[in-house]
Amino acid sequence: MHLLETKDLGIVFGGLQALNELHMVIDDGEIVGLIGPNGAGKTTVFNLLTGVYVPSGGAIRLEGNSIIGKKPYQINRIGIARTFQNIRLFKNMTVADNIKVAMNQNMKYKILTAMFRLPGCWRQEREVDKKARELLRIFDMEDTADQMAANLPYGQQRKLEILRALASKPKLLLLDEPAAGMNPTETRDLMETIRDIRGRFNVAILLIEHDMSLVMNVCERLYVLDYGTLIAEGSPDKIRKNEKVIAAYLGC
């Protein structure tokens, strides 16, 4: 059984077929890339997988169970977490609190327990605070825990978004252009980080990226979209030589 499987997945916006019969499988612990020219429908795929859009047709199965019709928060709880193309942090919350929001789903105490600060509230809050700081240590960001997220430099904001997604304990992590706006050194760091995350958290990663050096180095398999249709799939080497892919990118 595959971790994630989509069959004939498609969505229509008005008269526009934004995505057409997408077949995609991702197995445990794989790093898979989703590439294609601008407007090819890559982010649409993410929005379908996370329940932001409801597909017009087809199936999405996570570990064999259909996730169509589930709300975004339900899909996150059963194991798909994402980052966003334009960073969406909780800017006026501290770095630690950003992570704690994602850990909320694994905390149990009720609203009344919180209002009267019963022992359960204290205990769980201490635990979650410890866990959040441990998670920050992975990216050497434990010093920033009590800063406002808005005050972090750009690169650390990207990292925090990845950490926040990981805090919800996903089986599949979706990264939407993680290297956007990074310089070559930062991008190289990011490659290491992505491999490291896969090993440490035992997650599969699906990433959208335009930086070809990152895609070709990190991803084990690639899917290429153009005008909402899958035009190629396979190993980076195979994709590099694929004529359809070259044509789509160069426009001839």
Binding site: K71, N76, F90, V101, N104, M115
Partner: protein, 340 residues
């Protein structure tokens, strides 16, 4: 919940002592007549407005949803509790607390009915719907038999009288303190974080596993409940209520308190609700200029402190004490010496 266990414990003790001290000082002044009956009523009104402001702050400041009909919930609570105590025939000391609960629950019910359709959507629909609700409920109560229409519902008994001037104040003060405490602890729990994350970015919040509709609805209904309770105290504090007391201007007045104090800051709401209430009562002789004064204050604050007096920060005596302590200890040890 930043800070060590010990410092939190110390803060608890300091805050509790101060609140208890304030309560008994005011109580003694009221009972000995230093604070007259009129001023006691004003103090009670201060507590009522604080309750209203912190509850609206929960929705508008913490959750980030604009509400323009908070007085509507107050109206529901006021009429429900006044009619209950007038008609039930129990002694007021028993029926009054029950009536407050009843007023709150009825207001919460209205909150559910208008909250469900409005909060399932993203965006500012809640502002429009609550604006409509506030006007509709006012016009309806003008025309109903049971509310006595525009003739005003009068003869609502108060617990306070000439011999014993303090009970209404005690109720209002204790309820205000209780609500402030639970809103504060709520805001600093996992649930509070979830609510703040909705204000910051609803899409991200939902994709991080937060059931946004549930939290939005809970917060809105809870605020409606509190406003209903405040309405109940209000009705029994004045003895006479008519729908005009709960019009759109009243909603705006509460909103101004929240904005002025800083959206999201409970202590900010308390300070601005207290000072604006006292100010407007003391300026009763110039009541036609009151709104002008309000707008001038608001413009000045928005010019110099766009995020309100306190912004999103909370102010507290222990915090100030720590700050003073830190500054004085810094002075004692010059920075050069500390580095070595």
């Amino acid at each position: 919940m930043g800070g060590t266990k010990k410092s939190i414990g110390v803060s608890y003790i300091i805050n509790t002592t101060l609140v208890v001290l304030l309560f008994f000082v005011l109580l003694i002044f009221i009972n000995t007549g230093v604070i007259g009956r009129y001023n006691t009523q004003v103090l009670t009104l201060v507590c009522i407005n604080i309750i209203l402001a912190v509850s609206l702050n929960l929705v508008t400041g913490v959750l980030g949803q604009l509400v323009l009909g908070h007085a509507g919930f107050m109206l529901v609570g006021a009429y429900a509790s006044a009619l209950f105590t007038k008609n039930i025939g129990l002694p007021l000391s028993i029926s009054f607390p029950i009536s407050l609960l009843l007023g709150g629950l009825l207001a919460a019910l209205f909150g559910v009915v208008i909250g469900i359709p409005a909060l399932r959507l993203r965006g500012d629909y809640l502002a429009i719907i609550t604006l409509g609700f506030g006007e509709i409920i006012r016009v309806v109560s003008y025309n109903l038999e049971i509310t006595n229409g525009a003739k005003a519902l009068s003869g609502i008994k108060s617990l306070s009288n000439r011999q014993n001037p303090s009970p209404m104040f005690i109720y209002a003060f204790l309820i205000a303190v209780f609500i402030i405490v639970i809103l504060f602890t709520f805001g600093r729990s996992r649930h509070g974080r979830a609510v703040i994350s909705i204000r910051e970015d609803e899409i991200a919040s939902e994709s991080m596993g937060i059931n946004t509709i549930y939290y939005k609805l809970f917060v809105f209904v809870f605020a409606a409940f509190i406003a209903g309770v405040a309405g109940g105290i209000f009705a029994h504090n004045y003895g006479t209520i008519d729908p005009a007391k709960f019009d759109f201007n009243r909603s705006v007045e509460i909103l101004i308190m929240v904005v002025l104090g800083g959206m999201g800051s409970i202590t900010g709401s308390i300070i601005s609700a207290g000072s604006l209430t006292i100010l407007s009562e003391k300026l009763r002789d110039f009541s036609q200029y009151r709104m002008i004064l309000y707008s001038v204050i608001l413009i000045i604050v928005m010019l110099f402190r766009p995020s309100g007096l306190l912004g999103r920060y909370e102010i507290s005596v222990p915090k100030i004490l720590r700050y003073i302590k830190k500054r004085s200890s810094n002075k004692k040890v010059p920075p050069e010496a500390r580095e070595e």
